[in-house]
């Protein structure tokens, strides 16, 4: 067993975990944060993406023990009470989701991109940036619409 101390969505958490426990299973099973979804468990689908110290990471490709001392942000950490983040709002406005399985991973990926962009990328660039987040439902058009709207705001100084 390994003792870990992690900040998750601003809350300090401590736990004793098995060395082999994945971060995705820690978030979902131990902390009950089931917004982080698990699809493939080998890095390809992107549904488990979270931010670790601000950088996107596959929570299925990290041991919970590796997150010791880090700050983790999950989809549950995006909204402020009932108020959606501007990226979540854009997904809602543009119908950027259907079943919602891929959505948490996409939102976290886009949250990282929004913190870095200086100008709105082209639709082609958006597709390239999202290549690591698979969606089985939407056909991506509305996701790209949502991300375009969100990044346009981010580049213009919005959150």
């Amino acid at each position: 067993m390994v003792e870990i101390a992690v900040e998750v969505n601003g809350r300090a958490e401590t736990a004793e975990v098995d060395g082999r426990m994945l971060l995705s299973d820690f978030l979902r099973g131990v902390l009950g944060l089931t917004g982080t979804h698990v699809g493939c468990e080998h890095g390809y689908c992107g549904s488990c993406t979270v931010l670790v110290d601000g950088a996107s990471a596959r929570s299925c490709l990290m041991l919970a023990a590796q997150a010791n001392g880090s700050s983790v942000r999950t989809v549950e950490g995006l909204a402020d009470g009932e108020e959606l983040s501007s990226i979540q709002q854009a997904f809602k406005d543009c119908h950027g989701l259907q079943c919602g399985f891929c959505t948490p991973g996409l939102l976290m990926t886009v949250t990282e991109i929004a913190a870095e962009v200086a100008s709105t990328p082209s639709r082609h660039q958006i597709r390239e940036q999202l290549a690591g987040n698979l969606c089985r439902c939407t056909g991506y058009h509305q996701i790209v619409d949502a991300v375009e709207q969100a990044l346009d705001q981010a580049a213009g100084g919005g959150r």
Partner: protein
């Protein structure tokens, strides 16, 4: 799809990590970025008894500029290689190659040392290492040694590293910063490449003095193509170089491409990479 049972170790210094490797040898694996190891654990393709996490070992994520080379710490991430200004200046090929690796979340965590130690035959760092006359610095409890790319990469997932050795850094020569080309074919953005070509040259008296043409996706490890290197020096014609490279290999076909398709990809990638290298050289010339 969950890792098998193992004991987790988080040494806080390199010396402690080397002690653990010395004690456990074959029973242990090193965990760096985890972007190849953890999928293998999840799929139970690896069943180590001990996992030694380098995450708390300080000082292994430094990029150090030396007179003729850049030394990249084993824990430097793909993302750092994409963004670091010294890499952009001295190893621009490495900066571009980093952008082709997986997706941003993979690049944020995956490391240069992990990639060379893993030795996937179609990975970017091993072929860049061959093109840029690179070497791998290894350390064990009993000493240190340095292996060139030809000695380090042996076959699929197999290197010259001993079980008690740690990859501590990877060194790339900086003399090719103005004369290089890199091209790869991947089926989808983020996938492993089917074929990669990396071309580097340096000026000699009156023309190209040194040429290096390295390929991934044609053999069980990254390889140089001496015939294409000679052709580059002799002809300075990308098309001639690409034809020679295409005819030099008969890569084994698999689900990602038949032999004929891979040969055609070698031609296309070498044509582009050699063309870029020559175009950069010409742009850099005072009369160019």
């Amino acid at each position: 799809m969950k890792p098998p049972k193992f004991r987790y170790h988080a040494p806080s210094s390199q010396a402690e990590a080397l002690d653990l490797l010395n004690a456990y040898g074959d029973e242990a694996v090193v965990l760096s970025g985890g972007q190849s190891l953890i999928p293998m654990l999840n799929l139970r393709l690896a069943r180590p008894a001990e996992v030694i996490d380098l995450g708390s070992v300080g000082g292994m994520d430094l990029i150090v500029t030396e007179p003729d080379a850049v030394s990249v710490g084993a824990r430097v991430t793909h993302r750092q290689m994409e963004a670091d200004p010294d890499i952009a200046r001295h190893l621009p090929m490495a900066r571009d190659a980093a952008g082709f690796i997986g997706f941003r979340a993979i690049r944020n965590r995956g490391t240069v040392g992990g990639s060379v130690a893993h030795a996937d035959p179609s990975a970017e760092w091993p072929v860049v290492l061959l093109a840029l006359d690179g070497s791998v610095d290894l350390r064990s409890k009993s000493g240190a040694r340095c292996l060139g790319g030809d000695d380090f990469f042996q076959t699929v997932f197999t290197t010259g590293r001993q079980a008690d050795e740690l990859v501590v850094s990877v060194r790339f020569a900086s003399r090719f910063a103005d004369n290089w080309g890199f091209s790869e074919f991947q089926r989808r953005t983020g996938d492993f490449a089917v074929v990669v070509a990396a071309v580097a040259c340096a000026a000699g008296s009156g023309g190209i003095g040194e040429a290096r043409v390295a390929l991934a996706g044609v053999a069980d490890r990254p390889v140089r193509c001496p015939e294409a290197e000679e052709a580059l020096i002799a002809t300075e014609d990308p098309q001639a170089v690409a034809e020679v490279a295409r005819d030099a290999f008969d890569p084994v076909g698999d689900s990602h491409g038949s032999t004929a398709h891979r040969k055609q990809l070698v031609y296309a990638q070498v044509l582009r990479a050699a063309g870029e290298a020559l175009a950069r050289r010409d742009k850099g010339r005072p009369d160019g």
